[in-house]
Each structure stands twice: as C-alpha cells, then as structure tokens.
C-alpha cells in the first residue's frame, strides 16, 4: 500500500539537519502527568507500593514480563543505537530531549535490564551501559512513558524490527502494578469497572443524546433515522467511538445514515456502549479484558451476527487484535468483528452507495490515525471512501503507514499546566504537515478529517494552538453528508 510523498525518500523527508537545528537537551525535570488519587486506585483494586519497596517490586515485575515474551527480549538485546527511530519520532522532533525519543525511552528500561539480568551488566555495570534502578528512574518512567503516544512509527522504521512502543507499554503496565498511574488514565479505567465504559456514560444519557441526533437528522434532511439501543435479534451490534456521544455528533449520525441506507438491522448495546479501551493503554490484563469480554457477551446476548466497530483507533486495535484471545468467554468467539470503514468501502467498490461529493466543497485533508495505519491496514479503504465523498481531497505527506501521530495518541490528552504545553509540542510536526497541504489557506478554511476520537480530542485545541484554519471532522461525518437518499430526503443540508 503506497501513498508516498512527493519525495521518494519517504521517511527521510524529515532531514536530519532539521533535527540538528536545535541542540538536543535534557530538561532538569521532565513534564510529568498528575497521578491518580488513592481513592481511584482503590476503585481499581490496586494499592501504591510504598517507596521503600518500589524498586524491588518493579524489578520483579520486569523480570517476569520480559522472560515471558521473546519480543521484549529482542528489544532488550538488539538495539545498536543507530538513531533512526529518533529522527522519526514526533515527540523528539517537538522537544529535542534525547530521553523523549524511542531509543531514549527504551533505554530507561534497557539499562536496568542490563544491570540486573545480564552477566556483563552485573560484572561491569556502567562500563557496559548498565544502571541501577532508583526511585528517580521510576519517576522518569512515569514522565517519558506517558510522553510516548504509542504511535509505533519508530517500530515501523527500526532496522531490527524493535517495536519500542511495546517497551513503553510494558513500562506503563509495571507502573500500573506499582500504583503509579496518571489520573486521566486511572479515572477512565475506574469508569470502565464502575459503569462499563471509559466515559462514564449512562444508558439514559446515551438514549437522550441519540434522540437528539435523530431530531437533528430530521431537521437537516427531512426524514428520521432512529438509533436502536439494546434491540434484541439485531444482526449488527455497532460500537460507536467514545467521544461521539459528547463532542462528535456528526460521526454518530454518519454511522446511522449508512446503516439506514443499507437497510441494516442494527443496534447499539448499553453494555459495551463505546469503543475506547483505556485498559489497553495502561492495564492490558484486568481492565482490557473486562471490556473485550463485555463486547463478546453483549453481542451474544443480542443475537448479533456481526460486530461493527466505530471510529476509534486504540479501541479498534484492542478489539480486533486481542478480543478473541483475551476475552474471558468460551465458545462464542465466532462472531466476526469488522470496522465500519471496511464495511463502507466494500459497499463503495461494489457500487451500492450513491454519494454526492458536491456537498463538501472545502478542501479536505486526511490524518491517518496510527492504530489504523500501522496496526490494522486501513490506509486504502479510508481513501476509497474519502475520494467519493468530497470535492477536493489533498494528501498530507508523509501519510499512510508513514504518517505522524496527532500528538495525543494513547490518551496523552492531559490538560494540566505542566503537560498541556507538551501536547502542543508533540503536535508540532503534524501541524507542519497540515499547513503544507494548503488546506487551511482557502477563504473558508478547510476540513481536517481525523477518524479517531483521541485524534479529534487532540486536534480540537491543537488546530487553534497552531493557528490552522481547519474544521476537525471524522470520516463517517463525510459519508453521512454525502449519502444521497433518493425519494426520502428533502435536502442534503448545509454545504460543508
């Protein structure tokens, strides 16, 4: 799948001289997210390990985890410090802090691994790059493993195939067991265990929101589309993206309009009401499993033949790649799990949808969410859809598997005074990319299509911070707008 930039070098399009423009420098104290309160940790069933035991506990967890997986061992043993990952990491490009790069972050664990679990490290210590684990290092883990947005661009370029994000995920998991978790992630996980979803949505709130959206469609298009919830004997269980219920109404409407168009027998389930899975981001054991189990159970209860996933990047990876092996249910895992983009693309290539691109006249560019592009193979299908829905589509470069992260990936959506400015720096490279498309330059600006709730939540403030004149929308928003309901609709609504 190639969507190569105007320069054939692809990744090397970010020249090293650009990285070298500013000297790399370590800050005295890296920006660190606020951690969870005792009360929230208690809800999660974890107690913070006291400081005097933290180092020992961390070493035990590290040893047990790394021994279990060859990929960790590969990452520990194979890095030759070639630096390719560094120049390909948006956080390093934005901060110039060597610890804020894939190899820098992995080394925070690698040095410890060497010191305690290799012969040369035990014998020669610092001479071979081994380092004692201290409370200060654990504090650095908290900062730097939550600066990583788990975008896996580094893993994509590493000549040894080291997926450095797997290492920062490992670090986050060990921190979780130590009881050191950012408040945002811990609160979201607590909401999962309390109410079954990251956003603390209630069924009554969701139903009220969905009725509001039905009214909106009726006002705009002249016909009503219902959003069924917990409808028994549904063929399709649809799992909308989390913030669709709060911030992204047009994304949810787009999904409903598509289901209406194809005459689907579908429902949303209140047991698995949104697609996010913060467990995947901090606790890949108990919390992630809780949600993938809920997903399969609820699909079974409603008699679904298929689970269709909404516009959520990390949640899609958590479900697509882990639900079958991780869910705590036997015998019902034959229900296929597909993404709504793939469904829509299959209807488009078989000419079953009438789409009118003249309803979207402003130029549109597409941000490839990292989990779609580098983990789930969505690059082609997103383009099959967008080209049919809009009048003018402009690629940003690099794109597809080579995209840069929005800067908020893996829930790095911290809004405290210490971390918020970091988000602006993390999105600097992305802002440059968007600016280069010229999409924001039109008289009415343009549209930035970012089909993932975390990307959208990052972009809403970031396009303001970087002064980009673009409206942030999802891909389903564009589909809903462009779908032509002959004989049914009185209007296509306002032009975008």
């Amino acid at each position: 799948m190639g969507h190569h930039g105007p320069t054939p070098e692809g990744f090397r399009r970010i020249p090293t001289w650009e990285v070298a423009k500013q000297p790399a420098e370590r800050p005295k104290k890296p920006a660190t997210p606020k951690t969870a309160t005792k009360k929230t940790l208690h809800e999660l069933g974890i107690v913070e390990v006291p400081d005097e035991h933290k180092v020992q506990a961390a070493l035990e967890r590290l040893h047990e985890q790394i021994k279990q997986r060859r990929s960790y061992m590969l990452a520990m043993e194979s890095c030759v410090k070639c630096g390719l990952c560094q120049e390909n990491c948006h956080t390093f490009l934005g901060t110039r802090d060597p610890d804020d790069s894939p190899v820098g972050r992995a080394d925070l664990i690698r040095k410890v691994w060497k010191r305690y679990f290799t012969v040369q490290g035990r014998l020669f210590g610092k001479l071979v790059g081994a380092e004692d684990l201290t409370l200060e290092t654990i504090q650095k883990w908290l900062a730097y493993f939550y600066h990583c947005t788990e975008c896996r661009r580094c893993g994509h370029v590493c000549p040894f195939g080291i997926d450095t994000c797997e290492i920062t995920m490992l670090g986050r998991q060990v921190l979780y067991w130590l009881g050191v978790v950012p408040a945002l992630h811990a609160d979201s996980c607590a909401a999962i265990h309390r109410l079954g979803n990251n956003m603390a949505l209630t069924k009554s709130g969701a139903v009220d929101t969905l009725e509001f959206l039905s009214d909106e469609i009726e006002e705009e298009r002249g016909f009503r589309v219902e959003f069924p919830v917990d409808k028994p004997d549904s063929d399709i269980v649809y799992v909308p993206s989390s913030a669709d219920f709060m911030l992204n109404p047009d994304t949810l409407k787009g999904a409903a309009l598509f289901f209406e168009y194809i005459g689907a027998n579908w429902t949303i389930t209140s047991r698995m009401i949104e697609a996010g899975n913060f467990g995947y981001l901090v606790d890949q054991y108990r919390t992630q499993r809780e949600l993938v189990t809920r997903l399969l159970e609820s699909a079974k209860q409603l008699g679904a033949k298929k689970i269709v996933w909404g516009e959520c990047g990390h949640g899609w990876r958590a479900a697509k790649q882990y639900a079958r092996t991780m869910a705590d249910v036997n015998g019902i895992w034959h229900i296929p799990i597909v993404h709504i983009h793939d469904e829509i693309a299959s209807y488009i290539v078989t000419n079953q949808l009438e789409l009118d691109p003249s309803r979207i006249t402003r130029p549109v560019t597409l941000h490839d969410p990292c989990n779609y592009a580098r983990a789930c193979g969505h690059v082609e299908n997103m383009r099959i859809i967008i080209r049919k829905c809009v009048s003018e589509f402009r690629e940003m470069y690099p794109n597809g598997e080579r995209n840069f992260c929005c800067g908020g990936g893996s829930g790095v959506l911290f809004d405290d005074p210490e971390m918020y400015p970091m988000r602006i720096r993390f999105s600097q490279k992305k802002a440059e990319q968007i600016r280069e498309t010229g999409v924001p330059d039109g008289p009415d600006g343009g549209i930035l299509c970012a089909p993932c709730s975390i990307c959208k939540a990052q972009f809403y403030p970031m396009v303001e911070e970087h002064e980009l004149n673009v409206e942030v929308k999802g891909l389903l928003d564009l589909v809903g707008k462009a779908l032509v309901f002959r004989g049914k609709e009185t209007s296509g609504g306002k032009k975008w």
Binding site: T37, A190, A191, N198, M199, A200, S204, D208, M246, G276
Partner: protein, 105 residues
C-alpha cells in the same frame, strides 16, 4: 484529598478542583468555583448554562453532548467560551458540580 471552604462548610474536591459529592453543591459553591475558572461574577447567562448542566446531570448522570447544550440554552459554542473561558466541559461543568470528564475528551 484537598478541601475548599464555602460558607463555613468543608467540601471535598479532587486535585483539579471538581467537587466529589454533587449533593454538597450550592449556588455559593458555584460562585466560589467560578472564581477559579476566570468567572468573577455569575450573570443570568452563566446561571442558565450552569442550571441546565446541573439538571441534566441529575436526570441522566452524565454531562450533555456539547451541541445539545448549545441548542437547548441558545448559546453558540463561541458564546459558551466567552462565558466560561476554560470551556464547557472543564469550566462550566465544574461550576455546576459535575465530575471531571474521563476518556477521549
């Protein structure tokens, strides 16, 4: 957990200043929290938004969709930001005694 003191009453808040027990909310508490959100004086327009959020939360246990908030109160998003400089979710909701939003927002 930190506390705030309003009219002689100690009220527990989280580290971002969101009150922990919605039943402890009073108009005085709202006025106190508003100061921290850059709103020195709660006008009728502010109260319209705050009361709407509070009623919605009491009914549904969650904050409303932002677009619904705008439609039902008659304010544009821009006007909401003018009223509550820290925004609808983290500013207006806090003043109305709702918990801090979680997840991808």
């Amino acid at each position: 957990m930190p506390f705030i003191e309003v009219a002689g009453q100690q009220i527990e808040v989280d580290e971002d200043g969101f009150i922990q027990d919605p039943s402890k909310w009073t108009p005085e508490v709202a006025a106190f929290l508003a100061k921290g959100e850059g709103v020195d004086n709660l006008t009728d327009d502010h109260w319209k938004v705050v009361n709407y959020l509070k009623d919605y939360y009491e009914k549904h246990g969650i904050a409303p969709m932002i677009r619904k908030l705008c439609k039902d109160t008659g304010f544009t998003l821009k006007q909401i930001y003018e009223l509550f400089p820290t925004g609808p979710a983290k500013g207006a909701c806090k003043i109305a005694g709702l918990p801090k939003p979680t997840g991808c927002v």
